[in-house]
Symmetry: D2
Amino acid sequence: MYAIGVDVGGTSVKAGLVSEDGIVVEQLSRPTPSTSAAKVAETIATAAQALQKRAAELGEDVSAVGIGAAGFIDAGRSTVLFAPNLAWRDEPLRDAVGAIVGLPVVVENDANAMAWGEFRYGAGIGVEDLVCVTIGTGIGGGMVQNGRLTRGAYGIAAEFGHLRVIPDGRRCGCGNRGCWEQYCSARALVREARDLALVTPHAAGRMLELADDEIDNITGEIVTTAGQEGDPGALDCFAQVGGWLGIGLAQVAALLDPARFIIGGGVVAAGELLLGPAREAYEQALTGHGHRPLAEVVPAQLGNAAGLVGAADLTRRG
Amino acid sequence: MYAIGVDVGGTSVKAGLVSEDGIVVEQLSRPTPSTSAAKVAETIATAAQALQKRAAELGEDVSAVGIGAAGFIDAGRSTVLFAPNLAWRDEPLRDAVGAIVGLPVVVENDANAMAWGEFRYGAGIGVEDLVCVTIGTGIGGGMVQNGRLTRGAYGIAAEFGHLRVIPDGRRCGCGNRGCWEQYCSARALVREARDLALVTPHAAGRMLELADDEIDNITGEIVTTAGQEGDPGALDCFAQVGGWLGIGLAQVAALLDPARFIIGGGVVAAGELLLGPAREAYEQALTGHGHRPLAEVVPAQLGNAAGLVGAADLTRRG
Amino acid sequence: MYAIGVDVGGTSVKAGLVSEDGIVVEQLSRPTPSTSAAKVAETIATAAQALQKRAAELGEDVSAVGIGAAGFIDAGRSTVLFAPNLAWRDEPLRDAVGAIVGLPVVVENDANAMAWGEFRYGAGIGVEDLVCVTIGTGIGGGMVQNGRLTRGAYGIAAEFGHLRVIPDGRRCGCGNRGCWEQYCSARALVREARDLALVTPHAAGRMLELADDEIDNITGEIVTTAGQEGDPGALDCFAQVGGWLGIGLAQVAALLDPARFIIGGGVVAAGELLLGPAREAYEQALTGHGHRPLAEVVPAQLGNAAGLVGAADLTRRG
Amino acid sequence: MYAIGVDVGGTSVKAGLVSEDGIVVEQLSRPTPSTSAAKVAETIATAAQALQKRAAELGEDVSAVGIGAAGFIDAGRSTVLFAPNLAWRDEPLRDAVGAIVGLPVVVENDANAMAWGEFRYGAGIGVEDLVCVTIGTGIGGGMVQNGRLTRGAYGIAAEFGHLRVIPDGRRCGCGNRGCWEQYCSARALVREARDLALVTPHAAGRMLELADDEIDNITGEIVTTAGQEGDPGALDCFAQVGGWLGIGLAQVAALLDPARFIIGGGVVAAGELLLGPAREAYEQALTGHGHRPLAEVVPAQLGNAAGLVGAADLTRRG
């Protein structure tokens, strides 16, 4: 028995046929229609129907459709209350898709779906309490406690990116200042590198070289490339951002005491350049360090598929 | 069917016979023996036996004994791994008490037991996701998510007091600096008041008067009394500490999204003097404020009984 | 009797014939030769000779040449010890120019020369104790106390830009973090605006429009234009940077107690957009505010000419 | 020719006969009358007359009386505008004393008088630019530039203690928060030690022992004694306070570029326990460190006599 998992992003709708072992048997991708929520539901449904047909060819049934979408989801897991990137408000996504597809549908926050995917089939196998921290433009995440997804009373738990790490710190899009994601994100990494290049160009020499001597050309990829070559300027940028990653993890651990932190998102391509300093800072900043078990800090394993694998699996449990 | 709840503190062991409605039918208290863990187990057992006898007189059976103890408790809820105030290490409290009493025994962290007591029979009635923050010398707490207690992978979740609110801030007993409880606790309130008296005596005039003009005599009670009279200096101290309470709650809410915060501990006697500024700061510091439901911030209701009521109830569920 | 004032910058050498009333009777400008210090001395000397000739035509004598140059100047005011922009070390500029021109020569730090120019003929007229703060890429400045220029024991007093305003704050080119000029400078203004555009694009709408919707195109001019139109996003940026200006001035005032602050540099084109919030923050942050006279905070008056006017006048006194 | 120097404190009036070599030939002390400014003037005058008589016996003339008094002094050095400890406002001290004594009188701020005394006859001999930082309950000081005392436009320069070192830091008596003297003063040292004892009693064991196990009994003397024995807890306290001393000196140096810092006040009894960490932090925090001469950091030499020696000498020059 297969389930269909869908990951609705701002630019593409990814859907996959997922086995009970979490294997993505078949996957397809469609551009996200920008016109209306109804069009998005239609796109999801069409993709689901194509996968349903494919399952039939493979002699398998499809039990349900799980949809992971950025935004606030209602407690009944049927409605997207608010999705900033898609300009949605109170969209009854479950019923719209269900009416077309004729299968049970479950809607889940995309970060929760990813955390669940990693928990069940990825870097989270073997523990019951984990925190998934996804580092992109900002920081998103999800958490599993006692083997169950924690959604919070209003479905908006795990807003890790907006933990305040510095009073009156850097301006954040949420309206506050000093939020964690302003210090630890792909954007923060680029910012560190550009700042370095601006105030001490010689220390950022290799990165500037890779950027054709234009500060505004420095990207995360350039910092990573230079870091992998051992460039001290780039390593310093990773030490800063990784340090903030570790400090933030220590705050989360003080509250949640997970067995494992799973770090996902694009910057994880840098691997130990980022995770090394993160672990060091984490251990140092953790309250009671030395007197308690340390959560592991490991990279995510499922990459982009985590969301749809998790969404598919959440139709079965969670 | 009754259950026995026990709250083991540094100075006294409190035990109570608790009905299925959470009523404390009978309660007794014994000094905590300082000699050894075995003596404490014996004291608990003797108290439990007395309550068992009392239950029999009332024509009721006792199902189990629930013990709330400060310290780290193992996942099997049988052993106190580490209890700083009692100088315990790896004490098999469940079996020691069980062997004497002949009833099932469950051991739980005391802050968790309190949170559970409030959840089931106190200020938490009606919600499934709550955070209990107990403000004393430091900050302790517990949390309930989806109607279940969250203990963390190693039983040490909810170390709220050690969230870092200021990098390189005030020294904390945990070895770090800038922990929340250094800014929000009974001790922090007294410190604010003494600092005020030290640097601007005229602004602390009323509190100094109540303290016989000795800065070191200023206590939390004095600050509260002066605050209740409307003394601006005392109100300023509450505004500071309440402000930090609210800022910390906003951090916790970013992670846990509870429906309700229950504030317990001695300083809650000050009521709205503390909770008023806390709510205001909470709303302002909360990420996404204005675009999400606000958790309520309410005082605890069960007072000192919360721990034993919760411990008793946790023998039945949790 | 005229004096010649010279202002040596990284791109141009500006020289002027300055009357005893501080009037620039004649002015000329030459590109700064990048080849060597000897070439720069030659350029200065040639310019001085041309002005000397012009003075003769006007029937006036020239008493001396005053040179303002970026960098550390020795106590004898003859040698440029270190000039980062010109890549100079220990250049005997006084003697090199004097040998060609045949007039007494005095070398002074350019920020000191500017402060002196404003003190004698610009915004500083009427007071004996002033601080000149010049806001460009960073913050430079000079100070006059009891009517005399303060140079410090080693000629490097008035490094205002490197007052630390935030522990562990933004990275600075000086190798430290949290320096004032990282929060208050033309660069900081642009950074505020770009940050705003990055994290809350709607709040920076007008500035983005002026920048053809490219964050990296936002300049100080754009922020100023938008601010002058009353755009709230731009005003917010000025409030931030102006606020930091005021906070820093309050630190300087705690040490120096000047009668007047003169604010120079390009961002002063924004006038009250910057100085308004600066004054407000200054008054609030000043120790003893309400119990002491407030220094005035006024814009510089001489613009680019301040340096050469000051350098000329310093040959006569200072 | 002798001069008389007077140091007016809150509890005593100290007066001395001072030779042109800065030697205190004769010294006497009277309790400060608390009744009125006229009484204080009388006490000063009587003391001066006694010293005048003594000078006559020694066959020497007395040229003038110099008075150092805490508070704001007018620019004409005749009137105490505001003296918080003495509850004075606009007291014409010069004329009141002069009318009785029949000698020229000069009034100076006491911290300036001390700085001048050290400059002329103490730890400041040999340099023309120095900063004197006096660490007591708070931080006071004075500064000499180009061999002249800097008073500021309104006589209140050198308010070192109120440099802001941490935004939103500890509450200060001046009404602001985060002032340097809240982190670096005799009071701050005691506070560090008491905090340490409160949050980690074992780390403060030796100090608690010296304090009869009462936190509130810990004094600066106790911290110093324990530090001199090598107690790690006390050394940690000195490292904190000394570190802040160095950080603050680096700020002052960025503005004033002195050749020497002279550190005075009671805590200097601790010598290198304090000055060692201060120098280290100073070097690290100084902008441009490694590329500029470092000011020396030395202890004051004249102790309590600095004020009256300086006041006497200021009648001759300054």
